[in-house]
Amino acid sequence: MRSVLLACCLFSTASFAGSAYVRVPAGGFSSVLKYEDSKGKQKIVGFELMKNPVTNAQFLAFVRKYPQWQKGKAPKAFAEPTHYLSHWQSALVLGGKVKPQQPVTQVSWFSASAYCEAQGARLPTWNEWEYTAAADRTRHDARKDPAWRESILGWYAKPSNTPIADVGKTPANVYGIQDLHGLIWEWTEDYSAMLVSADNRNQSDPDKSKFCGASALSMADKENYAVMMRVAMLSSLEAVNSTSNLGFRCAKPLP
């Protein structure tokens, strides 16, 4: 409880600075998604990404400053009342079971976007996220390594009925970024365009991703179940939705 109060006081006066940003240099890579308009490699412009996902303490500081995003006040059209921050004790109290250093979850895409915007940032795009998350401790692209895939699948196989760990406990990848795997799902800016929307980048039938054959059609790397499942998860969501294991981090252009 004391640490909660401390966090409140620290952040309520200062701007809610949030997590540190880490530079991700420009590069090219192949997404597991099959894009019709860019065969092969995706170009990634250099950007900055938060070292860790946004924590409960950081999000609390945000809703203090922007009361319209407090639990109970956020408009229904932007956050489902039954889920949005439902694990917090009240609008401005985390409560005993919610730790300040855990990543914030039960946040809608709208609220996550608003948080980043208030920081002068934005949510990362899927490509930026996948590009950064393809790394492991020593390599920029570890996706072909069966061990890398297995470790990710191992996390997927665990139900979310145990408390989520604090941020910053997983090893940093080659860029110095942590928690991309093994902690939570994360919103991306263009999540709704990845598979399901009418966006013409990858397909004409908007329902394709939702059943059987779809993943086989729209995934370029069919063996990469580990990444496919993250795509499936994001595809199942509406922007107002939130779940107990879905959080976010922000990105911004290089200074």
Partner: protein
């Protein structure tokens, strides 16, 4: 359609010809036969709409395997509400082996759903807030895109609803169809929905729900602890486990399906896959009827029936004699090395006219005569009074391999839940006199060996003489980590003498 009609017509003509030979009025018979042919076609989906639902909506009764909900008992179409919850749960896949299953209703296979042809089904799919994954459902009973999958894609902590009319009667698989669909199915996300024909299913005494699935774990078969899903094995179609009803013990021991002599039983059998096709068979039983692939027609007198992955079958038979039928996938290594074993225990009076039990059990060595050399050597040594422990063990091994290893296995490990182990066996080591008695007289009823319960029948090995029993028991005591020791023919003779025998028994 044309082809089907042609097939039907051929036997009719033959029948008519036979009848006319025997002097009946052939024209009339032709007509009657033609009418019969028309009735045997159910009409499919075109004949499956019996109009709007009548009466109050009904909440579907869902059951966990191996139970089946009661017949709908309705003669009119209704609106049926199905509430199915998706849960990701850690459960035992084998003794001491945990696996995270993704389930429809908390069990593998998922809850059994029963509706009537023409019913309007309002389907609610709920994904528990603790789930990590989004899920959906594709019911093969649905006529419509994705079988409902597109309309039921549901994030954790959310619920979806869609409605369909069950136009075709039959037994249908349902499964999760979220990408990667193979992994969702491999984790247990499948079950059965029965769409009863309008007249209902014929009455039987018992109904059961059995569903096969293949599972892929990182650790090998029976490696203890929490076992994660192995994607590569799944892609290679190389399962670690092939199971009925989602765990190795699901239909064994106390969980065996139960019948009484004289009862008729119907089993709704499904195969979730994701990869393997099942050669479904019950050892010691012949299926009187098999509704092939869960459809409307039945084949009769079937030994083994194929159940496709993502398909079903309905079997029916009458339990004629007591005993234990063993349910297997007759691709038989799956049964003995990957767990595809279940049991149907039938109780009731013996009927010796149908099955006698063992009448004669005599030694037949055939080309095993060579391996019997140590036995002969031991016999000679015994006669000369110079039998060594080594000779005895050697002779016991040959006899063991001919007599005991079929059940207890050549490595003495037995078969879990069915045949107790002799290797490192606390039960064997505790009492060698008792061991002699079991070989002589058999064993019927529950025993606990190395902490595991067994409840099977071992017949008396009445064909063995005292020397042979002594050699076998000595061999087992000195093998596979047992404590050692020696049994003599005199020990065996004493036990034999002390045991009261039922009248008519050998010896």
């Amino acid at each position: 359609m044309g082809a089907i009609m042609k097939h039907l017509v051929v036997p009719i003509i033959i029948a008519a010809a036979l009848l006319s030979l025997s002097g009946c009025k052939s024209e009339k018979t032709d007509e009657a036969a033609a009418t019969t042919a028309a009735i045997t076609d159910t009409g499919g989906s075109a004949a499956g709409d019996f109009g709007p639902p009548q009466g109050e909506p009904i909440n579907a009764i869902l059951t966990s395997p191996p139970l089946v909900p009661p017949p709908t008992g309705r003669s009119t179409p209704a609106k049926v509400i199905v509430q199915l919850e998706v849960r990701e749960v850690e459960m035992e896949i084998s003794e001491g082996v945990k696996y995270t299953f993704w389930t429809f209703g908390g069990t593998v296979p998922g809850s059994f759903i029963r509706v009537r042809q023409g019913d309007t089904v309002e389907f609610h799919l709920k994904n528990h807030p603790d789930s990590k994954m989004p899920h959906n459902i594709d019911l093969h009973a649905v006529t419509g895109p994705g079988g409902g999958a597109a309309s039921s894609f549901t994030a954790p902590g959310h619920a979806s609803q869609f409605t369909f009319k069950a136009l075709n009667a039959g037994l249908y698989v349902y499964h999760c169809a979220t990408a990667p669909v193979g992994m969702h199915v491999a984790n247990g996300m499948y079950g059965l929905i029965l769409v009863e024909p309008p007249q209902g299913m014929p009455k039987v005494d018992k109904e059961y729900y059995v569903m096969q699935g293949d599972f892929y774990t990182v650790g090998k078969y029976r490696e203890k602890g929490v076992q994660p899903f192995d994607m590569q094995k799944a892609i290679d179609e190389n399962p670690t486990y092939v199971l009925f009803n989602g765990s190795e013990g699901a239909l064994l021991g106390d969980n065996a399906l139960k019948l009484n002599v004289g009862e008729t039983v119907r089993m709704y059998v499904g195969n979730g896959g994701p990869n393997l096709v099942s050669s479904f068979h019950i050892i010691g039983e012949i299926f009187d009827k098999v509704y092939t692939e869960g459809g409307s027609r039945y084949q009769e007198n079937v030994q083994t029936t194929l159940v496709p992955a993502g398909g079903s079958t309905i079997i029916e038979y009458k339990a004629e004699v007591p005993g234990t039928g063993v349910i297997v996938d007759h691709s038989i290594f799956r049964a003995f090395n990957k767990g595809a074993l279940g049991m149907v225990k039938t109780s009731g009076p013996e009927n010796k006219a149908i099955y006698s039990g063992k009448e004669v059990d005599s030694v037949y060595l055939g080309d095993k005569a060579v391996s019997a050399a140590p036995v002969a050597a031991a016999a000679t040594a015994t006669a000369g009074g110079v039998l060594t422990l080594a000779q005895q063990i050697k002779a016991g091994e040959a006899l063991y391999n001919g007599t005991c290893s079929v059940c207890h296995q050549s490595n003495g490990d037995g078969i879990p839940n069915v045949f107790p182990p002799l290797a490192k066996s606390d039960y064997l080591n505790a009492d060698k006199t008792r061991a002699i008695g079991i070989v002589l007289n058999g064993l019927n009823g529950p025993v606990t060996v190395n902490g595991a319960k067994f409840d099977s029948v071992m017949p008396p090995m009445s064909q063995l003489n005292d020397d042979e029993v002594a050699n076998i028991v000595t061999f087992t005591l000195n093998s596979w980590g047992n404590k050692g020791g020696r049994v003599t023919a005199a020990d065996v003779a004493q036990v034999r003498k002390a045991t009261p025998r039922p009248q008519g028994a050998a010896h």
